[in-house]
């Protein structure tokens, strides 16, 4: 293999790094423009109140203040739409500024633009908003009580939707859930509580809007994961043609889903810029981020599993209540729906029933976050498996073996309605057990207990659904977005290759990864491939936008676009070499006649001819470029297994992670170095949610975690050494065999740790059925004698 072949699979050092390690990155906060002014946002201090009036007169008088907006100034401005509208879901939307009523602490009420952020914040203190506080609901239980305060009056109550997922087989026929429970030797029941936490990227959201007086167009520099979707939504909210908006994304300091949503501030900076005819900048501060950017995950789950004596899981049924916060934000219902269809995990469970109930509370809206409903399902399924094993007296690993979908059973139609492309679930479990030396751990466990060491072993198997598509399936579930990614490839007259992608890099190394795919396909040096991203005026529209696990779809689009360009090179090359196209192949960066390597043209030779167009085959158009829009044939399902080994201190409840083994299988790997980074980072984020992170509200709906001293991110001290092992089961659906992987690490830490701590404390009958598993929680679960 020559140096310019085989770029897929290579451990290439990232091209993104050079500016970033020198402090030369360009993040939204780093952007500056002549005449630029700064926005600050007044937010509700009340969780639920009538907004009687907002007096901005004193703020307007402050020197250095240019403009102030309240909802009274927003006639003709729409609301941000709900993108995921399950059939039967009540109408909702996100107002740009609160009108008549505020529904959560942090909701935008007014906005100011001033000469500096300092002065803009001074002005906020001069705005007098008049509130009449209302009773609040801060959890799903109180929101559902008869006579509970209603947050969205038009709904009549606080229930956004009751959605039923009936278990079905491949033909759409329902299983026999009641029969499964009637036939069970044991039934295990549980009430699980998933904590409210979120992506919390280290860079907050940031925006600079600039109105162009010549074209009356708007340019928005935005820390968005989804520039094209942001453009579409802004055009609808602002009531302007989509063609008049250009969204550009600079470096992003992480996103993890929360920058997928659109927010009121996106519209506000644009409005101010139009009004003032000046560039307007807004950089969210951390307190605003914690109370103004979407939260995620919070669910209460009441589930039960029917178990046969031999460990077979005959059925799972139950209900999930999703705490949506005060508005249905963008895809707010989506994660809970994903949980509701995913509880059968990687097991052959054919009888299934789940009810998903979306509930409004006076809290920050809940929406996208890495994992998107999957980790919530993984926690529940893997805890149920563990409980089932205890109920019938089998080892938890054995029960998993008993129920796994087998490698020869794909495609598998899950009872929740999913189609699984490929997998080898038993192999991932066995590899993890072997690496951790499971049998030995079990043998030594009793002896350790006798010495007062409470060691537990917890397994968490996961499947990670990614590559959402084909688009029509999203339509079937009311998801008003699409599954495709487009890619354009242009070969310039010198033979240089530029790829244009709608993907927005968030830090995953997207540019390096996609350049590797293109270099591989053209047989050229990786460094000779340019990648253009982050500009809606240059890049192809993306149906879905960037997410941690979209590189598989974008990479497939590049494979297909490269095919278009290579085919054209062959046609033009054959013409120049005076050979038939079928006798010419693309090889090693050029075209050549089969069996006659001396009859060869480089890609540069072909490109030059293609642009000069003096001598092209009949009917061939000049230039050398190709575009392909790849709509996934089907979802891809990555999978794997985590095993956590922990020691629990009975005195303090502290959980010490002794070992953490990860086996991941995400299909074909483009860059092993970057995949390791993604998995490790995902596991760390999962551990954060499992052990530390939670948005905490008091009974009045006041958010108590408004700084990093209260909302605890994992530091280098909390994240253990991860023993990572990679396996490869290719996807038969994706060109290249790729599967999504950027979210995979997040799925299992909660399940593995809850299982491990429950296992350690088995002698006390302790069951850890909620997150985060803080020392305080563990200590409170221990018997007090």
């Amino acid at each position: 293999m020559s140096a310019n072949e085989g770029w897929i699979g290579r451990r290439v050092q990232r091209r993104e790094d050079l500016p970033l390690i020198q402090g030369k990155g360009r993040f939204a906060a780093d952007l500056t423009m002549p005449d630029m002014v700064h926005m600050a946002v007044l937010r509700s201090p009340h969780a639920h109140a009538r907004l009687l009036g907002v007096d901005t007169s004193k703020a307007r008088e402050l020197p250095g203040v240019f403009d102030v907006l309240t909802s009274a100034d927003l006639d003709g401005i729409g609301e941000f739409p709900v993108l995921w509208q399950l059939p039967g879901q009540k109408a909702s939307g996100i107002p740009v500024l609160a009108r008549d009523k505020v529904r959560y602490v942090g909701e935008p009420v007014a906005a100011v633009v001033a000469v500096s952020r300092y002065v803009a914040e001074d002005a906020l203190e001069l705005i007098e908003a008049d509130y009449d506080p209302l009773p609040t609901v801060v959890d799903v239980e109180s929101a559902l009580k008869a006579g509970a305060p209603v947050i969205n009056e038009a709904w009549g109550d606080n229930v956004a939707i009751r959605h039923i997922v009936p278990g079905i087989d491949a033909t759409g026929k329902a299983g026999d859930i009641d029969g499964a429970f009637a036939a069970a030797d044991a039934v295990v029941k549980a009430r699980f509580k998933i904590n409210r936490f979120s992506g919390v990227p280290l860079e907050t959201r940031g925006l600079v809007a600039s109105h162009d007086p010549l074209t009356h167009g708007l340019t928005l520099w935005s820390s968005s994961q989804v520039a094209h979707k942001q453009r579409t939504q802004l055009a609808s909210v602002l009531g302007v043609p989509e063609s008049s908006i250009r969204v550009m994304t600079p470096n992003l300091g992480g996103g993890f889903g929360v920058k997928w949503d659109c927010y009121p501030e996106d519209a506000l900076v644009c409005l101010f810029s139009q009004r003032l005819q000046r560039p307007v900048k807004w950089i969210e501060d951390r307190r605003e981020h914690l109370m103004g950017t979407v939260h995620a995950r919070e669910q209460v789950q009441e589930l039960e599993a029917a178990v046969a004596r031999d460990g077979t899981i005959l059925g799972i049924r139950g209900k999930i209540w999703a705490d949506l916060g005060a508005h249905i934000h963008s895809v707010g219902i989506g994660p809970a729906w994903v949980t509701g269809v995913s509880l059968t995990g990687q097991y052959r469970i054919k009888n299934y029933y789940c009810e998903v109930i979306g509930v409004a509370t006076n809290k920050v809206p809940s929406s996208t976050f890495r994992g998107f409903g999957g980790p919530e399902a993984t926690f529940a399924t893997e805890r149920l498996i563990e409980k089932a094993a205890r109920a019938v007296g089998l080892d938890p690993a054995e029960v998993r073996r008993k129920n796994f979908i087998q490698p020869d059973e794909f495609p598998w139609f899950s009872a929740g309605g999913g189609v699984f492309d490929s997998g080898n679930y038993p192999a991932a479990l066995e590899k993890a057990l072997e690496e951790v030396d499971y049998d030995h751990l079990r043998e030594e466990q009793a002896g350790l207990r006798a010495k007062g060491v409470y060691r537990g072993i917890g397994i968490g198997c996961y499947i990670h659904t990614s590559g959402f598509g084909p688009s029509f399936i999203l339509g079937l579930v009311g998801y008003n977005t699409s599954g495709y990614e487009g890619s354009s490839i242009k070969v310039d007259p010198q033979g240089g290759i530029t790829i244009y992608t709608g993907m927005i890099p968030l830090g995953q190394g997207t540019e390096t990864t996609l350049a590797q795919v293109a270099a591989d396909q053209f047989g050229v040096d990786f460094n000779d491939v340019r990648v253009v991203w982050g500009d809606t005026s240059q890049t192809p529209y993306t149906g879905f936008g960037s997410a941690g696990s979209r590189s598989n779809v974008a990479a497939a689009a590049i494979l297909k676009a490269a095919e278009v360009v290579r085919d054209k090179s062959i046609r033009i090359g054959a013409h120049l070499l005076e050979a038939a196209p079928e006798d010419v192949v693309y090889e090693n960066g050029g075209v050549q006649v089969k069996g006659s390597p001396e009859k060869r043209l480089t890609l540069g030779d072909v490109a030059k001819a293609a642009y000069l167009a003096h001598n092209l085959p009949k009917g061939e158009l000049p230039t050398l470029e190709g575009t392909y829009v790849y709509d996934p044939a089907m979802f891809t399902i990555a999978f794997g297994c985590h095993v956590a080994v922990v020691d629990v201190d009975l005195e303090t409840g502290e959980v010490k992670i002794v070992r953490y083994v990860v086996v991941d299988d995400s299909g074909t790997i483009i860059n092993p170095l970057l995949v390791e980074g993604q998995i490790q980072g995902g596991v760390a984020m999962g551990l954060g949610g499992a052990l530390l992170e939670e948005f905490v509200y008091d009974e009045n709906g006041q958010l108590l975690t408004t700084s990093f001293m209260d909302y605890l991110l994992p530091s280098i001290h909390e994240v253990p050494h991860m023993e990572l092992h990679q396996q490869v089961t290719v996807s038969p659906h994706t060109p290249g065999g790729f599967k999504g992987m950027g979210e995979a690490g997040m799925f299992s830490p909660g399940a593995a740790l809850a299982n491990a701590v429950s296992d350690a404390l088995l002698p006390f009958g302790v069951e850890v059925d909620r997150m985060p598993i803080t020392s305080n929680l563990v200590w409170s679960l221990l018997p007090k004698s």
């Binding site: 020198q22 190394g509 490790q680």
Partner: protein, 162 residues
Amino acid sequence: MNTLHTVRLTVNGTAAEVMVEARKTLADALREDLGLTGTHLGCEHGVCGACTVLFDGNPVRSCLLFAVQAAGHEVGTIEGLARGDELHPVQRAFSEFHGLQCGFCTPGMILATVDLLEHTPQPSEDEIKEALGGNICRCTGYQKIIESVQGAAAAMASGLAK
């Protein structure tokens, strides 16, 4: 509050002068008045460590200092670390070992590492954790950051041996 104060300080070895309000943080003065945007603000309340700079050679959080407090002092930022085109070994190691993803925490991480290796050229894993315990990274899970620090230590040791 609006009175401007003249602050003379040394930044990356060069004399600098800024006119700032007393309430302006050192981080904002570096970023806005001196254009050194490599110093990042992740929390503005002293927890995340992204804004770490070297203040008379010691790592400090520039979001917790006022610019006026830097008068007469020497401030080192990420922009001053490379010698022309030659990267500092710590910068090279972070790239080589994939110790960064989004790169937002990276300037603070690198400066904290430079300080560690200056005082402890061959740190143990515990010493690395102690030195970087105040720098939050949301992307990497820290494993490759630890490898980057170890890689930088090894590179610097072999550089000294040459």
